[in-house]
């Protein structure tokens, strides 16, 4: 009796799901304007221009190649969009007129929704920032910095000259340690944001 030997292919080369093939188009559609993402010729101008490329695990161009290949998990786990500083070098230089920075924002949104974010430092910062805005209508830098540095203590304590800088914020720049004055139309703003979130989730 001959034994059938079943050879397992490596996990990442498993069957491609239908929605993964459409991943590129899905991302392109979610961006606000006409992003032209499907026009990418993989020239590398974006990766070459990016000031924080060395901190990214995949360059922007590599991310687009991965989107085309339907590698959903790898893209959404990547730290690439979180390292984007929104300097728009890539967008103005891209020879195919792709709105790369807007795609990066879209990927941030998608990675949060899918809960695949690996390092939450950036998204925690954004969430804390927004929490103040959603309560006061204004941002609160001292509060934001405080919470961020306390919740990410390891990061904060590694940095030299942290204390004089923090002190200087209060004394030299005269920044207020108290939360800002709430805007008059706070109720209206809350309603607007609630409706917007409902539409986003839909």
């Amino acid at each position: 009796m001959s034994e059938e030997v079943i050879v397992n292919s490596p996990p990442s080369a498993g069957p491609v799901k239908h929605e993964d093939l459409a991943l590129l188009n899905q991302v392109a559609k979610l961006a606000p304007g006409d992003s032209h993402l499907e026009m990418c010729i993989q020239c590398g101008t974006c990766g070459g221009s990016c000031p924080s490329a060395s901190a990214m695990d995949h360059t922007p161009r590599a991310i687009f190649a991965m989107l085309r290949a339907g590698m959903r998990d790898e893209v959404l786990k990547s730290n690439t969009p979180w390292m984007c500083v929104s300097c728009y070098y890539c967008t103005v230089r891209c020879p195919q007129d792709i709105h790369i920075t807007d795609i990066m924002y879209t990927l941030k949104n998608m990675s949060l929704k899918s809960k695949m974010v690996q390092d939450s430092t950036a998204s925690d910062f954004s969430r804390t920032f927004i929490r103040y805005v959603e309560n006061y209508g204004r941002s609160f830098e001292i509060g934001l910095a405080g919470i961020q540095n306390v919740t990410h203590l390891r990061l904060a304590t590694r940095l030299p000259n942290m204390a004089p800088m923090a002190l200087g914020m209060l004394t030299k720049k005269g920044m207020s340690p108290f939360p800002p004055k709430r805007i008059k139309g706070m109720d209206g703003l809350k309603k607007i944001l609630k409706r917007a979130k409902e539409m986003e989730a839909a």
Partner: protein, 676 residues
Amino acid sequence: MSAEEKMPKERIGVYVCHCGSNIAGVVNVAEVSKWAGDNLKDQGVVVSRDYKFMCSSLGQELIQKDIKEQKLTRVVVAACSPHLHEKTFRNACKGADLNPYLCELVSVREQDSWVHTDKIAATEKAKAIVAGGVSRVVHHEPLTPLKVPIHPATLIVGGGIAGIQAALEIADAGFPVYLVEREPSIGGHMAQFDKTFPTLDCSACILTPKMVDVGNHPNITMLTYSEVQKVDGYVGNFAVTINKHARYVKTADCTGCGVCWEKCPKKVIDDKFEAGLGYRKAVYTPFPQAVPKYPVIDDINCTYFQKGTCKACEKFCPTNAIDFTQKNEIMTVEVGNIILATGWDLFDARRVPNYGYGRLANVFTNMEFERLSNSAGPTGGNIVLRDGKTTPKSVGIVHCVGSRDKNYNNYCSAICCMQSLKFAHLVHEKTGATVYNFYIDIRTPAKGYDEFYQRIIEEGALFVRGKVAEITDAARNPGEEGKLIIQVEDTLVGKQRRIPVDMVILSAGLEPRAGSKELAKTFGISCSADGWFIERHPKLDPVATMTEGVYIAGCVQGPKDIPASVAQGAAAAARILGKIQQKEIALEPVRATINEEQCSGCRICNTLCPYNAILFHEDTMVSEVNPALCQGCGTCVAGCPAGAISGTGFSNLQILSQIDGLLLLTLDKKKEAVVA
């Protein structure tokens, strides 16, 4: 029987083509043919057939057989657009001794089967179109094409390699050529290059023998430092007005000795030949092997023209050949055909701010590098940095600058990959420096090109696949100090790299000449949106244009390498020689004619005519159309307030009859509806 019915009817044959499934797939061709045969008898249809491919020899023979046997006096073919086969069917009729203009081709393909999906409606429409054709063709008249003589002389605008090739071919065949060139010498961009790919022939060495041939050829009249101002006329009979800019040098006396430019004290940056990298004097020849050898005085920079002093050249000229009083000369030449071979301009790399050209001293363009490497260039062929002395130890060559880029030019400039590989070779050979090529793709399609690429790899050039993002002198660490840093993503590795080099060469793309649109207008041809001139058919007719008698050759039609430019120059020459050999050309007889009795002499048509083809007779106070100049555009026909002008082949009667035919079915149905 009405008077109308008593008139001798024409005998019309109707032929409806299946065109395979192109027409038959949507239109019920057999039904249309039967309908025409049954219902259009009173219009004169005596035979109506359908056939798979009317344009085939068998299809044509079918028509010819019917003409002879059925004594047909008119033919209507319902098939593809006249644009394709009008000539075919007209010739078929001619072959059966029926005047070709008594044949009408109506389109049931482009205007019916190709644009509709409703088969029933499309079939009804085809019937209407055929009925329209039948009604119209009754009023056709036998016409004879106008024959005009072809003047044997040819005008070639542009003295680059394409223009030179065309000029030599026509002149060698024994016919006169006028070669007009804007610069003081012929030669074009090819004269600026150092070596040509893939053979690495010295560019000037292969070009100058042809230039000398042109200069010495008894059949070629070279008009250098000249520009075309106006073109009148039509194919076979053009009258071209040319402005010969004053050289301020008496060519009869000048020996080309060069004392004048030696003694001239005014140095000017040479933006044309030296690509802005070197100098020339105010009196100069562009390069030593210039043809013709006579220098010119640049009156914008010459001290005498600006301030009234100096005149050193005149003082020192041994043959008294300098003449500051010379004026521009306007001359008119008569030619039968024209070739436009005006070439290309370089993309201005200053438009790409992240590459630092124009700001960073050691970033050069491809044309600047050609001059650097050329032994007759500003550095005597030494590849050195802007300081004029340091040899670079590392050089980066950047592909696709201003090409394949929606921010600048969307197209590929065809030659820059090969040019970049050539530069890699030259740098390696002359300096031994480390060479990097930064590319998106390597495009080496023609003969010997990919082998050249292999050779460059063997020579040790380093290839980085990535479109360069930035070239900067802002160093981030001591290793980058004093260098130009090329920042790029090495896409094959997937990481951003910063590569310090001493010199950067930008392979800037090709662009249409500035002023292309105006030049096209002068000659009556069109430019594409990019600015390249449009050929008659992109696949099958690359050197002719939509304007009879005007041809294009070389990069003016689109970026291409030297072999392709030469081939196009030769092709245009061959077409023209063919026309000249025929001695006369037949013009379409579709023309306007003015009915003298109805003309009121208002002269509105005179100014409307875009071809200046209408004369006004003062003595009889009527206008008359010159049939040779008239192109049959119909503007005057529409514009005449008295309706005194008609177009042969497009008379009011013919057009109105066609409309009646088209509406036949609709009106019949209406009649039925009323009666019912």
